[in-house]
Amino acid sequence: MSHAPAPGGKSGLRPQDRLATLIIAVLVMAVAVAAIVAAGDFPPTMLETDVGPARFPIIFAVALLVLCAILIVNTLRAPAAPPDDPAQAGPRASYGTVAIGIVATAACLYAMEFVGYAVATPVYLFGLMWLMGRRNVIANAVIAAVLTALIYAAFAYALSVPLPVGSLFE
């Protein structure tokens, strides 16, 4: 978990943290509103003594709306961090790498449905190792192949769980 200074803590709130917190709060509120709207279509209960399927989701969604509103007010009221705080000037995290990693994972899942585990996984492992700065192509290929085989052996043989073959090979 992150041990970054608490947004809204004594160190103040950096503009990007304030924006991110506000965006998250608004997104959660949108989810809550959508939940309430969708719950309107739930059928009423047939038991006289029951509260029906919509009651609990609506209570939770309303609580979320209230909590998010409090968070938004708190975030807007929190003091700003001093712009040139040297403590904040650590090495910058590379969000690009994270984004590519997430997209690569999604691509791997998408590919797995067609070409199966045995093809998608080694390519994915190789790509991630490259992404994380390993430039030795042969070593990466060997590691990717060995890891794929090890995981396959662990699941397919030791645990008798079949792994996806892919619709192209079925």
Binding site: P53, L67, A93
Partner: protein, 513 residues
């Protein structure tokens, strides 16, 4: 004596199952490695291994998971002492004096003391679990729907204390989890809610969500900074501490283990809080408190016995009441349900043999931890050299394959990925993940039992205050929920240092979940 008898039978049954013992050994070893690697916590280890238990018999699967749990809590001390990088949040307290000892050239003895203290604290806690669990389970057997509802609400109120930096963010995460938990078939009438026509969503896929939040999210985070690599700094001399040195720590270890067990039983308080509390108490009782922070062996012993003392305590409420006190036990609860076992009082009634065999196995796990721990310290350096650029892709591949294995479903993997991405952003902006998982488990229990109790009382809400246990549990729940608020009010009135910021323990608590 019933418990002792059952334990002996359990031990006998255990030693007839060499495969279970082997898997326990594997779990302990893996746990130590996972705990030692910075960034990998016991929770993550248990989450990744969860799908592997699916094909196993219940005992083997659960022992392996327990092994990872115990080994993971202890393993964090290795990097804490050698490199001042706590492998787990609980080890942050160990790092304070442990690393000072390393600087003085006493890394070996510090590691040895940590190992023995972990073993003693953990073993004591399992014994408490063995003797207290059946009593608590018998009591809980009397619960009807209204008490179960109150119990679930109490379980949910823990969210306030595991929220870490911001209670509001913790509560948002918790209520989001509760809302997510309503996806699927409504518990009374069977109406499908928010399923969008997908039959896969008739039951909330909470194991994929858990793997995503705890394992994939951490892996995505480590993509941010791929170059970091841990290195072994110190050469180890003697590992086993001399008896005359260790003897002086025994009182300290007994006290810290006791504290750890009590803190473990309190839902919401985990190994990290136990380690810090044990550290403070050891310092208070010490004849040389001025040495704390400068390399005091007693500090290492206190933190490690306190942290491992938590394990048995945390398992107590999870096994007997079905309330997971923290993230690790929440994931372990997932492992139990995956085996078709419902944690709670009935577990002790219907599967008493299995439970006591498991208890015997947990004691064996701690012995294994001691042996593997002492034996592997010298090799640990090489494992710690494993570059992140290989570790992270491996973890992600295991998340994908592991999630698939539970239901042979690609749909589940997409859920896992979505949870992983959400978890990454959540931890980036201090929204804790544990409340989501706690809510996913306790939410359906609360709703189903509330509606059942309401039907039983003919639509009257009287059951909320006329039944003493229900009323007591609900009161405790409200108090637990209000505690952080009251603490904040109190400290702002007394001008304490925690007005805006978290305390040491609470910020560490956030990290472990």
């Amino acid at each position: 004596m019933y418990e002792l008898d059952m334990l002996l039978h359990g031990a006998q049954a255990l030693f007839n199952q060499p495969m279970a013992l082997l898997l326990a050994l594997f779990g302990v070893t893996l746990g130590i490695i996972i705990g030692a690697l910075p960034g990998l916590t016991a929770t993550m280890g248990v989450a990744i291994l969860l799908p592997f238990t699916f094909g196993m018999d219940p005992l083997s699967g659960l022992l392996m998971i327990s092994g990872v749990f115990f080994g993971g809590i202890y393993g964090g001390s290795v990097t804490a002492i050698l490199l001042k990088i706590p492998g787990t949040p609980a080890a942050a307290a160990t790092a304070i004096d442990g690393f000072e000892l390393t600087k003085k050239g006493q890394a070996g003895i510090a590691l040895g003391t940590a190992t023995f203290s972990s073993f003693l604290g953990g073993t004591a806690s399992v014994f408490v679990l063995i003797f207290l669990a059946p009593v608590l389970a018998r009591f809980a057997l009397e619960f009807s729907a209204s008490e179960s509802f109150a119990l679930a609400v109490f379980g949910l109120s823990i969210i306030a204390s595991i929220s870490g930096v911001s209670v509001i963010k913790g509560l948002i995460a918790g209520f989001l989890g509760l809302l997510l938990a309503t996806v699927g078939l409504d518990p009374m009438a069977g109406f499908p809610r928010y399923t969008g026509g997908y039959t896969e969503l008739f039951n909330v896929p909470f194991i994929p969500v858990m793997i995503g939040l705890f394992a994939a999210a951490e892996a995505f985070k480590s993509l941010e900074d791929p170059q970091v690599r841990a290195g072994m700094a110190a050469a180890l001399d003697r590992i086993i501490p001399p008896w005359h040195v260790f003897r002086r720590q025994l009182g300290n270890i007994a006290r810290s283990s006791g504290l750890g067990i009590v803190i473990g039983i309190i839902p919401g308080a985990g190994a990290d809080i136990a380690a810090f509390v044990a550290y403070n108490e050891a310092k208070r009782f010490s004849k040389t408190p001025e040495n704390y922070g400068k390399g005091e062996l007693g500090a290492v012993a206190a933190c490690e016995s306190g942290a491992n003392g938590c394990t048995g305590g945390a398992l107590l409420t999870m096994l007997t009441l079905g309330i997971p006190g923290d993230a690790v036990t929440a994931v372990m609860l997932g492992a139990l349900t995956l085996q078709g076992l419902q944690p709670g009082p009935l577990l002790f009634k219907d599967h008493a043999d299995l439970v006591f065999t498991l208890f015997a196995g947990m004691l064996v796990c701690y012995v294994m931890m001691l042996v593997v721990g002492l034996g592997s310290l010298r090799f640990m350096g090489r494992i710690l050299q494993m570059p992140k650029s290989v570790l992270t892709p491996t973890i992600l591949a295991l998340c994908i394959v592991g999630t698939y294995a539970i239901n042979n479903s690609m749909f589940d993997i997409w859920i896992m990925l979505a949870a992983g991405v959400a978890g990454y952003f959540m931890q980036k902006w201090d929204f804790p993940a544990s409340p989501v998982v706690l809510a996913l488990i306790m939410g359906p229990m609360a709703e189903a039992n509330f509606r059942r109790a309401l039907s039983l009382s003919n639509g009257s809400y009287d059951f909320l205050y006329t039944r003493p246990i229900t009323a007591a549990l609900l009161t405790v729940a409200i108090l637990t929920l209000m505690l952080p608020l009251l603490r904040r009010l109190w400290s702002s009135r007394s001008g304490g240092p925690t007005v805006n910021g978290p305390t040491v323990a609470s910020s560490a608590a956030e990290g472990s979940k």
